[in-house]
Amino acid sequence: MAEGTKLNTQVTIAGVTFKNPVMTASGTFGSGMEYGEFVDLNKLGAIVTKGVANVPWPGNPTPRVAETYGGMLNAIGLQNPGIEVFIKRDLEFLKQFDTRVIVNICGKSVEDYVEVVERLSGEAVDMLEINVSCPNVKEGAIAFGQKADALYNITKEIKKKAKQPVIMKLSPNVTDITEMAKAAEAAGADALSMINTITGMKIDIHKRTFALANKTGGMSGPAIKPVAVRMVYQAANAVKIPIIGMGGITNGEDAIEFLLAGATAVSIGAMNFINPYTTEETIQEIEAYMRQYNIEDINDIIGTIK
Protein backbone atom coordinates (compact mmCIF):
# COMPACT_ATOMS: atom_id res chain seq x y z
CA MET A 1 0.00 0.00 0.00
CA ALA A 2 1.37 3.40 -0.97
CA GLU A 3 2.29 5.50 1.98
CA GLY A 4 -0.36 8.04 2.79
CA THR A 5 -3.17 5.97 1.24
CA LYS A 6 -6.33 7.01 3.01
CA LEU A 7 -7.87 4.14 4.89
CA ASN A 8 -11.60 3.90 5.33
CA THR A 9 -12.44 2.69 8.81
CA GLN A 10 -16.02 3.94 8.75
CA VAL A 11 -18.77 1.43 9.28
CA THR A 12 -22.52 1.90 9.15
CA ILE A 13 -25.09 0.19 11.34
CA ALA A 14 -28.80 0.83 10.81
CA GLY A 15 -28.06 4.06 8.96
CA VAL A 16 -25.74 5.37 11.68
CA THR A 17 -22.17 5.91 10.54
CA PHE A 18 -19.30 5.35 12.97
CA LYS A 19 -15.82 6.79 12.32
CA ASN A 20 -14.33 3.43 13.16
CA PRO A 21 -15.63 0.09 14.39
CA VAL A 22 -14.31 0.36 17.95
CA MET A 23 -16.81 0.90 20.75
CA THR A 24 -16.90 0.40 24.50
CA ALA A 25 -18.79 -2.51 26.02
CA SER A 26 -21.57 -1.36 28.31
CA GLY A 27 -20.68 -1.38 31.99
CA THR A 28 -16.94 -1.27 31.50
CA PHE A 29 -16.54 2.38 30.61
CA GLY A 30 -19.15 4.24 32.66
CA SER A 31 -20.23 7.12 30.42
CA GLY A 32 -16.64 7.82 29.47
CA MET A 33 -15.93 10.33 32.23
CA GLU A 34 -13.51 8.08 34.07
CA TYR A 35 -11.64 7.09 30.91
CA GLY A 36 -11.44 10.56 29.41
CA GLU A 37 -8.26 10.95 31.48
CA PHE A 38 -6.63 8.17 29.47
CA VAL A 39 -8.06 8.20 25.96
CA ASP A 40 -9.34 10.85 23.58
CA LEU A 41 -13.05 10.04 23.56
CA ASN A 42 -13.38 11.83 20.20
CA LYS A 43 -11.41 9.03 18.60
CA LEU A 44 -13.81 6.25 19.53
CA GLY A 45 -16.36 4.82 17.14
CA ALA A 46 -18.97 5.00 19.87
CA ILE A 47 -19.36 5.11 23.61
CA VAL A 48 -21.83 2.55 24.84
CA THR A 49 -22.91 3.67 28.28
CA LYS A 50 -23.46 1.64 31.44
CA GLY A 51 -26.97 0.17 31.65
CA VAL A 52 -29.56 2.67 32.84
CA ALA A 53 -33.04 1.97 34.19
CA ASN A 54 -36.13 4.10 34.78
CA VAL A 55 -35.16 4.54 38.46
CA PRO A 56 -31.84 4.26 40.37
CA TRP A 57 -30.75 0.69 41.13
CA PRO A 58 -28.47 -0.06 44.11
CA GLY A 59 -26.91 -3.17 42.58
CA ASN A 60 -25.64 -6.22 44.43
CA PRO A 61 -23.72 -6.58 47.70
CA THR A 62 -19.91 -6.84 47.56
CA PRO A 63 -17.69 -8.59 46.63
CA ARG A 64 -18.92 -7.83 43.15
CA VAL A 65 -15.82 -8.79 41.18
CA ALA A 66 -13.42 -11.72 41.19
CA GLU A 67 -10.51 -12.65 39.02
CA THR A 68 -10.53 -15.91 37.08
CA TYR A 69 -7.87 -17.49 34.87
CA GLY A 70 -7.45 -15.05 31.98
CA GLY A 71 -10.65 -13.26 32.85
CA MET A 72 -12.95 -12.09 35.57
CA LEU A 73 -16.40 -12.49 37.03
CA ASN A 74 -18.65 -9.60 37.89
CA ALA A 75 -21.97 -9.32 39.61
CA ILE A 76 -22.44 -5.58 39.85
CA GLY A 77 -26.18 -5.96 39.50
CA LEU A 78 -26.62 -3.02 37.14
CA GLN A 79 -26.18 -0.31 39.74
CA ASN A 80 -27.22 2.87 37.98
CA PRO A 81 -28.37 6.39 38.88
CA GLY A 82 -31.65 6.22 36.95
CA ILE A 83 -32.58 7.83 33.66
CA GLU A 84 -33.22 11.38 34.91
CA VAL A 85 -29.76 11.92 36.40
CA PHE A 86 -28.25 10.03 33.49
CA ILE A 87 -29.79 12.47 30.99
CA LYS A 88 -28.81 15.56 32.98
CA ARG A 89 -25.29 14.49 33.81
CA ASP A 90 -24.02 11.73 31.51
CA LEU A 91 -25.67 12.69 28.24
CA GLU A 92 -24.81 16.32 28.88
CA PHE A 93 -21.17 15.31 29.40
CA LEU A 94 -21.13 13.26 26.20
CA LYS A 95 -22.42 16.16 24.08
CA GLN A 96 -18.96 17.74 24.06
CA PHE A 97 -17.43 14.82 22.16
CA ASP A 98 -17.47 13.98 18.50
CA THR A 99 -18.40 10.36 18.93
CA ARG A 100 -21.56 8.31 18.67
CA VAL A 101 -23.55 7.63 21.81
CA ILE A 102 -25.29 4.32 22.37
CA VAL A 103 -27.33 4.07 25.55
CA ASN A 104 -27.64 0.66 27.15
CA ILE A 105 -31.02 0.19 28.82
CA CYS A 106 -31.98 -2.25 31.55
CA GLY A 107 -35.26 -3.01 33.23
CA LYS A 108 -37.24 -5.55 35.19
CA SER A 109 -40.38 -5.48 33.09
CA VAL A 110 -41.30 -4.56 29.52
CA GLU A 111 -42.84 -1.36 30.90
CA ASP A 112 -39.54 -0.38 32.60
CA TYR A 113 -37.65 -0.69 29.34
CA VAL A 114 -40.28 1.15 27.34
CA GLU A 115 -40.32 4.00 29.86
CA VAL A 116 -36.59 4.59 29.36
CA VAL A 117 -36.84 4.17 25.59
CA GLU A 118 -39.58 6.81 25.44
CA ARG A 119 -37.73 9.15 27.80
CA LEU A 120 -34.73 9.07 25.45
CA SER A 121 -36.74 9.74 22.30
CA GLY A 122 -35.80 13.42 22.12
CA GLU A 123 -32.28 13.13 23.49
CA ALA A 124 -28.92 13.25 21.73
CA VAL A 125 -28.59 9.50 21.49
CA ASP A 126 -27.61 7.68 18.29
CA MET A 127 -28.75 4.20 19.14
CA LEU A 128 -30.31 2.20 21.97
CA GLU A 129 -28.87 -1.05 23.20
CA ILE A 130 -31.31 -3.23 25.07
CA ASN A 131 -29.78 -5.30 27.84
CA VAL A 132 -31.90 -8.42 28.04
CA SER A 133 -28.98 -10.54 29.01
CA CYS A 134 -27.52 -9.45 32.31
CA PRO A 135 -26.96 -12.63 34.32
CA ASN A 136 -26.74 -10.79 37.63
CA VAL A 137 -30.20 -9.42 38.11
CA LYS A 138 -32.65 -11.88 39.49
CA GLU A 139 -36.07 -10.80 38.32
CA GLY A 140 -36.86 -10.09 34.69
CA ALA A 141 -33.90 -9.06 32.54
CA ILE A 142 -32.27 -12.36 31.73
CA ALA A 143 -35.58 -14.14 31.13
CA PHE A 144 -36.13 -11.87 28.13
CA GLY A 145 -32.79 -12.93 26.73
CA GLN A 146 -33.05 -16.67 27.20
CA LYS A 147 -36.39 -17.46 25.62
CA ALA A 148 -36.89 -16.72 21.95
CA ASP A 149 -40.56 -15.81 22.25
CA ALA A 150 -39.91 -13.47 25.22
CA LEU A 151 -37.08 -11.83 23.29
CA TYR A 152 -39.34 -11.45 20.27
CA ASN A 153 -42.06 -9.81 22.35
CA ILE A 154 -39.88 -7.31 24.18
CA THR A 155 -38.07 -6.37 20.98
CA LYS A 156 -41.43 -5.77 19.28
CA GLU A 157 -42.68 -3.57 22.16
CA ILE A 158 -39.50 -1.52 22.24
CA LYS A 159 -39.44 -1.08 18.47
CA LYS A 160 -42.98 0.34 18.60
CA LYS A 161 -41.80 3.22 20.80
CA ALA A 162 -38.13 3.69 19.94
CA LYS A 163 -37.10 6.77 17.98
CA GLN A 164 -33.53 5.56 17.59
CA PRO A 165 -32.35 2.29 16.02
CA VAL A 166 -32.45 -0.61 18.45
CA ILE A 167 -29.62 -3.03 19.21
CA MET A 168 -30.60 -6.16 21.12
CA LYS A 169 -27.73 -7.39 23.31
CA LEU A 170 -27.81 -11.16 23.34
CA SER A 171 -26.92 -13.57 26.11
CA PRO A 172 -24.50 -16.39 25.38
CA ASN A 173 -26.21 -18.45 28.08
CA VAL A 174 -28.51 -20.17 25.60
CA THR A 175 -28.49 -23.47 23.73
CA ASP A 176 -28.78 -22.00 20.26
CA ILE A 177 -27.67 -18.41 19.67
CA THR A 178 -29.05 -18.38 16.12
CA GLU A 179 -32.56 -18.95 17.42
CA MET A 180 -32.24 -15.83 19.61
CA ALA A 181 -30.66 -13.79 16.82
CA LYS A 182 -33.47 -14.74 14.45
CA ALA A 183 -36.16 -13.91 17.02
CA ALA A 184 -34.72 -10.43 17.55
CA GLU A 185 -34.42 -9.86 13.81
CA ALA A 186 -37.96 -11.07 13.15
CA ALA A 187 -39.27 -8.61 15.77
CA GLY A 188 -37.57 -5.72 13.99
CA ALA A 189 -34.29 -5.28 15.83
CA ASP A 190 -31.93 -3.08 13.82
CA ALA A 191 -28.77 -4.74 15.07
CA LEU A 192 -27.45 -7.25 17.58
CA SER A 193 -24.62 -7.01 20.05
CA MET A 194 -23.01 -10.09 21.47
CA ILE A 195 -21.93 -11.58 23.65
CA ASN A 196 -22.89 -10.48 27.11
CA THR A 197 -21.01 -12.25 29.90
CA ILE A 198 -21.09 -16.00 30.41
CA THR A 199 -22.55 -17.12 33.72
CA GLY A 200 -19.86 -18.47 35.99
CA MET A 201 -18.90 -19.15 39.59
CA LYS A 202 -15.77 -19.05 41.70
CA ILE A 203 -15.27 -20.54 45.13
CA ASP A 204 -12.70 -19.32 47.61
CA ILE A 205 -11.34 -22.60 48.96
CA HIS A 206 -9.52 -20.93 51.85
CA LYS A 207 -12.55 -19.10 53.19
CA ARG A 208 -14.95 -21.76 51.85
CA THR A 209 -17.29 -19.14 50.48
CA PHE A 210 -18.34 -17.94 47.05
CA ALA A 211 -15.95 -15.35 45.66
CA LEU A 212 -18.93 -13.16 44.76
CA ALA A 213 -21.68 -12.18 47.19
CA ASN A 214 -24.14 -12.96 44.39
CA LYS A 215 -22.66 -16.50 44.16
CA THR A 216 -22.75 -16.41 40.34
CA GLY A 217 -21.44 -13.72 38.06
CA GLY A 218 -20.82 -12.90 34.44
CA MET A 219 -17.51 -13.99 33.05
CA SER A 220 -15.59 -11.73 30.71
CA GLY A 221 -12.02 -11.17 29.56
CA PRO A 222 -9.71 -12.88 27.07
CA ALA A 223 -10.65 -16.37 28.29
CA ILE A 224 -14.13 -16.09 26.72
CA LYS A 225 -13.05 -14.82 23.30
CA PRO A 226 -13.31 -18.11 21.36
CA VAL A 227 -16.89 -18.54 22.58
CA ALA A 228 -17.75 -15.02 21.47
CA VAL A 229 -16.13 -15.39 18.05
CA ARG A 230 -18.02 -18.64 17.46
CA MET A 231 -21.36 -17.08 18.43
CA VAL A 232 -20.80 -13.97 16.32
CA TYR A 233 -19.98 -16.22 13.37
CA GLN A 234 -23.08 -18.36 13.87
CA ALA A 235 -25.38 -15.36 14.30
CA ALA A 236 -23.86 -13.51 11.35
CA ASN A 237 -24.69 -16.46 9.17
CA ALA A 238 -28.22 -16.70 10.50
CA VAL A 239 -29.42 -13.08 10.23
CA LYS A 240 -29.03 -10.11 7.90
CA ILE A 241 -28.92 -7.35 10.52
CA PRO A 242 -25.48 -6.11 11.56
CA ILE A 243 -23.70 -7.39 14.65
CA ILE A 244 -21.50 -5.61 17.18
CA GLY A 245 -19.09 -8.25 18.44
CA MET A 246 -17.50 -8.37 21.86
CA GLY A 247 -16.05 -10.78 24.38
CA GLY A 248 -12.42 -10.76 25.45
CA ILE A 249 -11.05 -8.35 22.85
CA THR A 250 -7.63 -7.15 23.98
CA ASN A 251 -6.17 -5.58 20.84
CA GLY A 252 -6.49 -4.92 17.12
CA GLU A 253 -5.84 -8.51 16.13
CA ASP A 254 -8.69 -9.72 18.31
CA ALA A 255 -10.94 -7.06 16.81
CA ILE A 256 -10.06 -8.18 13.27
CA GLU A 257 -10.98 -11.74 14.23
CA PHE A 258 -14.49 -10.60 15.13
CA LEU A 259 -14.82 -8.55 11.92
CA LEU A 260 -13.77 -11.54 9.81
CA ALA A 261 -16.32 -13.67 11.68
CA GLY A 262 -19.04 -11.25 10.65
CA ALA A 263 -19.18 -8.40 13.16
CA THR A 264 -19.57 -4.90 11.69
CA ALA A 265 -18.13 -3.31 14.82
CA VAL A 266 -16.55 -4.43 18.07
CA SER A 267 -16.58 -3.40 21.70
CA ILE A 268 -13.80 -3.40 24.25
CA GLY A 269 -14.97 -4.55 27.67
CA ALA A 270 -12.99 -6.01 30.57
CA MET A 271 -9.73 -5.00 28.89
CA ASN A 272 -10.47 -1.37 29.77
CA PHE A 273 -9.82 -2.39 33.40
CA ILE A 274 -6.48 -3.91 32.53
CA ASN A 275 -5.24 -1.28 30.13
CA PRO A 276 -7.24 1.95 30.09
CA TYR A 277 -5.77 2.85 26.69
CA THR A 278 -7.05 -0.30 24.96
CA THR A 279 -9.77 1.37 22.87
CA GLU A 280 -7.45 3.89 21.23
CA GLU A 281 -4.68 1.34 20.78
CA THR A 282 -7.11 -1.08 19.13
CA ILE A 283 -8.07 1.55 16.56
CA GLN A 284 -4.41 2.10 15.72
CA GLU A 285 -3.77 -1.62 15.50
CA ILE A 286 -6.71 -2.13 13.16
CA GLU A 287 -5.24 0.52 10.87
CA ALA A 288 -1.83 -1.14 11.06
CA TYR A 289 -3.41 -4.44 10.02
CA MET A 290 -5.15 -2.74 7.09
CA ARG A 291 -1.83 -1.30 5.91
CA GLN A 292 -0.08 -4.62 6.35
CA TYR A 293 -2.59 -6.40 4.11
CA ASN A 294 -3.46 -3.56 1.71
CA ILE A 295 -7.02 -3.24 2.91
CA GLU A 296 -8.28 0.21 1.97
CA ASP A 297 -11.78 -0.23 3.32
CA ILE A 298 -12.45 -2.08 6.56
CA ASN A 299 -15.85 -3.12 5.19
CA ASP A 300 -14.04 -5.32 2.66
CA ILE A 301 -13.12 -7.84 5.35
CA ILE A 302 -16.32 -7.95 7.38
CA GLY A 303 -17.78 -11.45 7.38
CA THR A 304 -15.38 -12.71 4.74
CA ILE A 305 -14.60 -15.98 6.51
CA LYS A 306 -17.30 -18.43 5.52
Binding site: G59, P63, R64, G71, F273
Partner: protein, 261 residues
Protein backbone atom coordinates in the same frame (compact mmCIF):
# COMPACT_ATOMS: atom_id res chain seq x y z
CA UNK B 1 -1.28 15.70 35.83
CA UNK B 2 -4.11 13.33 36.63
CA UNK B 3 -4.16 9.58 36.66
CA UNK B 4 -1.96 7.72 34.24
CA UNK B 5 -0.44 4.37 33.53
CA UNK B 6 3.33 4.36 33.73
CA UNK B 7 6.28 2.07 33.43
CA UNK B 8 8.04 2.14 36.80
CA UNK B 9 11.33 0.53 37.78
CA UNK B 10 11.95 -1.52 40.89
CA UNK B 11 14.80 0.04 42.87
CA UNK B 12 14.99 -2.50 45.64
CA UNK B 13 12.91 -5.09 47.37
CA UNK B 14 13.24 -6.93 50.66
CA UNK B 15 11.18 -9.36 52.69
CA UNK B 16 10.70 -7.64 56.05
CA UNK B 17 8.49 -10.22 57.77
CA UNK B 18 6.97 -13.55 56.73
CA UNK B 19 4.99 -12.81 53.54
CA UNK B 20 5.51 -9.04 53.95
CA UNK B 21 7.52 -7.34 51.21
CA UNK B 22 8.99 -3.87 51.07
CA UNK B 23 9.61 -2.40 47.60
CA UNK B 24 10.84 0.99 46.44
CA UNK B 25 9.98 1.95 42.87
CA UNK B 26 11.14 4.75 40.64
CA UNK B 27 8.16 6.60 39.17
CA UNK B 28 7.18 10.15 38.27
CA UNK B 29 3.85 9.45 39.97
CA UNK B 30 5.64 10.07 43.29
CA UNK B 31 5.35 13.83 42.78
CA UNK B 32 1.58 13.73 43.16
CA UNK B 33 1.28 10.90 45.66
CA UNK B 34 -0.59 11.60 48.88
CA UNK B 35 -0.80 9.50 52.04
CA UNK B 36 -3.76 7.12 51.89
CA UNK B 37 -3.71 6.92 48.11
CA UNK B 38 -2.90 3.73 46.24
CA UNK B 39 -1.49 2.54 42.95
CA UNK B 40 -2.62 -0.29 40.70
CA UNK B 41 0.11 -2.76 39.82
CA UNK B 42 -0.45 -4.98 36.79
CA UNK B 43 0.90 -8.53 36.97
CA UNK B 44 2.90 -9.59 33.92
CA UNK B 45 1.37 -13.07 34.00
CA UNK B 46 -1.66 -12.68 31.77
CA UNK B 47 -3.63 -15.36 33.58
CA UNK B 48 -3.88 -12.83 36.41
CA UNK B 49 -5.27 -9.91 34.52
CA UNK B 50 -6.66 -7.51 37.04
CA UNK B 51 -4.48 -4.86 38.61
CA UNK B 52 -3.62 -5.20 42.30
CA UNK B 53 -4.46 -2.07 44.30
CA UNK B 54 -1.58 -1.45 46.71
CA UNK B 55 -1.46 1.41 49.18
CA UNK B 56 1.41 3.87 49.18
CA UNK B 57 3.63 3.44 52.23
CA UNK B 58 6.16 6.20 51.72
CA UNK B 59 6.84 8.94 49.19
CA UNK B 60 10.12 10.52 48.19
CA UNK B 61 8.99 13.33 45.89
CA UNK B 62 12.47 14.70 45.34
CA UNK B 63 13.83 11.45 44.05
CA UNK B 64 10.63 10.31 42.31
CA UNK B 65 10.28 7.25 44.47
CA UNK B 66 7.40 5.38 46.00
CA UNK B 67 7.57 2.74 48.66
CA UNK B 68 5.01 -0.01 48.91
CA UNK B 69 4.79 -2.61 51.63
CA UNK B 70 2.41 -5.44 50.83
CA UNK B 71 1.46 -8.93 51.82
CA UNK B 72 2.16 -11.83 49.48
CA UNK B 73 -1.34 -13.25 49.37
CA UNK B 74 -1.82 -14.91 46.01
CA UNK B 75 -0.56 -15.25 42.47
CA UNK B 76 -0.38 -11.53 41.69
CA UNK B 77 1.44 -10.41 44.81
CA UNK B 78 3.46 -13.63 44.58
CA UNK B 79 4.75 -12.45 41.21
CA UNK B 80 5.51 -8.98 42.64
CA UNK B 81 7.51 -10.49 45.48
CA UNK B 82 9.91 -12.06 42.99
CA UNK B 83 10.77 -8.75 41.31
CA UNK B 84 14.40 -7.81 41.50
CA UNK B 85 16.16 -4.47 41.22
CA UNK B 86 15.83 -3.06 37.70
CA UNK B 87 12.56 -4.86 36.85
CA UNK B 88 10.07 -2.72 34.88
CA UNK B 89 6.50 -2.80 36.09
CA UNK B 90 3.27 -1.25 34.83
CA UNK B 91 1.48 0.86 37.38
CA UNK B 92 -1.51 3.18 37.35
CA UNK B 93 -1.83 6.06 39.72
CA UNK B 94 -2.16 7.85 41.80
CA UNK B 95 -5.57 6.58 42.84
CA UNK B 96 -8.07 7.43 45.53
CA UNK B 97 -8.55 10.48 47.71
CA UNK B 98 -6.03 9.98 50.51
CA UNK B 99 -6.29 11.03 54.15
CA UNK B 100 -7.61 14.56 54.80
CA UNK B 101 -4.50 16.10 56.37
CA UNK B 102 -6.27 19.39 56.98
CA UNK B 103 -8.40 17.69 59.65
CA UNK B 104 -5.28 17.19 61.74
CA UNK B 105 -4.49 20.87 62.21
CA UNK B 106 -4.12 21.79 65.87
CA UNK B 107 -5.39 18.41 66.98
CA UNK B 108 -4.15 15.43 68.91
CA UNK B 109 -4.08 12.73 66.24
CA UNK B 110 -4.59 9.05 66.60
CA UNK B 111 -3.16 6.97 63.78
CA UNK B 112 -4.21 3.36 63.75
CA UNK B 113 -3.00 0.64 61.47
CA UNK B 114 -3.82 -3.04 61.57
CA UNK B 115 -1.82 -5.71 59.75
CA UNK B 116 -1.31 -4.83 56.11
CA UNK B 117 -3.23 -1.60 56.85
CA UNK B 118 -0.13 -0.31 58.66
CA UNK B 119 1.91 0.79 55.59
CA UNK B 120 -0.18 3.86 54.58
CA UNK B 121 0.04 5.09 58.17
CA UNK B 122 3.77 5.71 57.70
CA UNK B 123 3.52 8.41 55.03
CA UNK B 124 0.57 9.89 56.90
CA UNK B 125 2.57 10.16 60.13
CA UNK B 126 5.43 11.70 58.18
CA UNK B 127 3.24 14.38 56.64
CA UNK B 128 1.43 15.15 59.86
CA UNK B 129 4.75 16.51 61.12
CA UNK B 130 4.23 19.49 58.88
CA UNK B 131 0.42 19.56 58.79
CA UNK B 132 0.22 21.38 62.11
CA UNK B 133 -1.06 18.52 64.22
CA UNK B 134 -0.52 18.96 67.94
CA UNK B 135 0.41 15.40 68.77
CA UNK B 136 0.76 12.15 66.86
CA UNK B 137 0.07 8.87 68.57
CA UNK B 138 0.38 5.78 66.43
CA UNK B 139 -1.21 2.48 67.33
CA UNK B 140 -0.17 -0.48 65.23
CA UNK B 141 -1.79 -3.89 65.52
CA UNK B 142 0.18 -6.96 64.46
CA UNK B 143 -0.41 -10.71 64.44
CA UNK B 144 2.80 -11.41 66.36
CA UNK B 145 6.20 -9.96 67.16
CA UNK B 146 7.08 -9.42 63.47
CA UNK B 147 6.70 -5.68 63.94
CA UNK B 148 7.33 -4.58 60.37
CA UNK B 149 7.67 -0.80 59.86
CA UNK B 150 7.68 -0.14 63.62
CA UNK B 151 11.16 1.41 63.53
CA UNK B 152 10.05 3.71 60.71
CA UNK B 153 6.85 4.68 62.50
CA UNK B 154 8.70 5.60 65.71
CA UNK B 155 10.44 8.42 63.89
CA UNK B 156 7.19 10.26 63.32
CA UNK B 157 5.16 9.77 66.48
CA UNK B 158 4.71 7.95 69.73
CA UNK B 159 4.21 4.30 68.82
CA UNK B 160 2.04 1.84 70.71
CA UNK B 161 1.90 -1.75 69.62
CA UNK B 162 -0.66 -4.50 70.02
CA UNK B 163 -0.15 -8.12 69.01
CA UNK B 164 -2.77 -10.82 68.67
CA UNK B 165 -0.56 -13.35 70.42
CA UNK B 166 0.63 -10.92 73.09
CA UNK B 167 4.27 -11.39 72.12
CA UNK B 168 4.85 -7.62 71.98
CA UNK B 169 3.04 -4.59 73.36
CA UNK B 170 -0.57 -4.99 74.43
CA UNK B 171 -2.22 -8.35 73.84
CA UNK B 172 -5.13 -8.10 71.45
CA UNK B 173 -5.86 -5.45 68.86
CA UNK B 174 -5.44 -1.69 68.51
CA UNK B 175 -8.45 -1.07 70.76
CA UNK B 176 -6.78 -3.00 73.56
CA UNK B 177 -3.65 -0.87 73.18
CA UNK B 178 -5.71 2.31 73.39
CA UNK B 179 -7.43 1.13 76.54
CA UNK B 180 -4.31 -0.19 78.22
CA UNK B 181 -2.37 3.00 77.61
CA UNK B 182 -5.29 5.32 78.32
CA UNK B 183 -4.76 7.02 75.00
CA UNK B 184 -6.89 9.99 74.01
CA UNK B 185 -7.10 11.84 70.77
CA UNK B 186 -9.24 14.31 68.86
CA UNK B 187 -9.08 12.88 65.40
CA UNK B 188 -8.52 9.31 64.20
CA UNK B 189 -6.98 8.14 60.93
CA UNK B 190 -7.14 4.40 60.44
CA UNK B 191 -6.48 1.62 57.98
CA UNK B 192 -6.86 -2.07 58.65
CA UNK B 193 -9.17 -5.07 58.55
CA UNK B 194 -12.93 -4.54 58.68
CA UNK B 195 -13.46 -5.74 62.30
CA UNK B 196 -10.88 -3.19 63.44
CA UNK B 197 -12.49 -0.41 61.43
CA UNK B 198 -15.91 -1.31 62.84
CA UNK B 199 -14.51 -1.11 66.36
CA UNK B 200 -12.91 2.27 65.58
CA UNK B 201 -16.12 3.63 64.10
CA UNK B 202 -17.97 2.62 67.27
CA UNK B 203 -15.23 4.00 69.52
CA UNK B 204 -15.21 7.30 67.63
CA UNK B 205 -18.98 7.63 67.83
CA UNK B 206 -19.09 6.84 71.55
CA UNK B 207 -16.32 9.31 72.30
CA UNK B 208 -17.48 11.89 69.77
CA UNK B 209 -14.17 11.89 67.95
CA UNK B 210 -13.79 12.50 64.24
CA UNK B 211 -12.55 9.38 62.43
CA UNK B 212 -11.33 8.88 58.89
CA UNK B 213 -11.05 5.26 57.88
CA UNK B 214 -9.53 3.69 54.79
CA UNK B 215 -11.68 0.93 53.31
CA UNK B 216 -10.78 -1.99 51.14
CA UNK B 217 -12.78 -4.04 48.64
CA UNK B 218 -12.20 -6.25 45.62
CA UNK B 219 -11.59 -3.88 42.71
CA UNK B 220 -11.38 -4.19 38.96
CA UNK B 221 -10.73 -0.88 37.19
CA UNK B 222 -9.58 1.29 40.12
CA UNK B 223 -10.81 4.43 38.38
CA UNK B 224 -14.51 4.49 39.22
CA UNK B 225 -15.96 2.96 36.09
CA UNK B 226 -16.80 -0.65 36.91
CA UNK B 227 -18.66 -0.06 40.19
CA UNK B 228 -17.12 -3.20 41.65
CA UNK B 229 -15.78 -1.73 44.90
CA UNK B 230 -18.67 0.06 46.52
CA UNK B 231 -19.43 0.60 50.19
CA UNK B 232 -22.72 1.46 51.83
CA UNK B 233 -23.14 5.10 52.67
CA UNK B 234 -25.47 6.77 55.15
CA UNK B 235 -26.52 9.44 52.71
CA UNK B 236 -27.47 9.06 49.08
CA UNK B 237 -24.28 9.35 47.07
CA UNK B 238 -24.39 12.07 44.47
CA UNK B 239 -22.72 10.02 41.77
CA UNK B 240 -24.61 6.77 42.23
CA UNK B 241 -27.95 8.25 43.36
CA UNK B 242 -28.15 5.31 45.76
CA UNK B 243 -26.47 4.63 49.11
CA UNK B 244 -23.28 3.38 47.53
CA UNK B 245 -19.96 5.16 47.11
CA UNK B 246 -17.00 3.94 45.06
CA UNK B 247 -14.11 3.04 47.32
CA UNK B 248 -11.55 3.53 44.54
CA UNK B 249 -12.52 7.10 43.67
CA UNK B 250 -14.78 8.51 46.43
CA UNK B 251 -12.48 6.75 48.94
CA UNK B 252 -10.65 4.77 50.02
CA UNK B 253 -10.72 7.17 52.98
CA UNK B 254 -14.17 7.98 54.32
CA UNK B 255 -15.52 9.88 57.29
CA UNK B 256 -16.53 6.96 59.53
CA UNK B 257 -19.89 8.63 60.19
CA UNK B 258 -20.72 8.54 56.48
CA UNK B 259 -20.30 4.82 55.85
CA UNK B 260 -22.12 1.72 57.02
CA UNK B 261 -19.61 -1.02 57.59
Amino acid sequence: MGKRKERAVVLKQARIAPDIYDMWIDTALAVEAKPGQFINIYPKDKSTLLPRPISICEVDREKNRLRIVYRRAGKGTGEFSDYKEGESIDILGTLGNGFPLEKAKGKKCFLMGGGIGIPPILQLAKELQTAGSEEVNIVAGYRNSDLFLSEDLKQYGRLFVATEDGSAGSKGNVMNAIEENGLKGEVIFACGPMPMLRAIKKFAEENEIEAYISLEERMACGVGACLGCVCKTVHKDEHSQVNNARICTDGPVFDAKEVEI
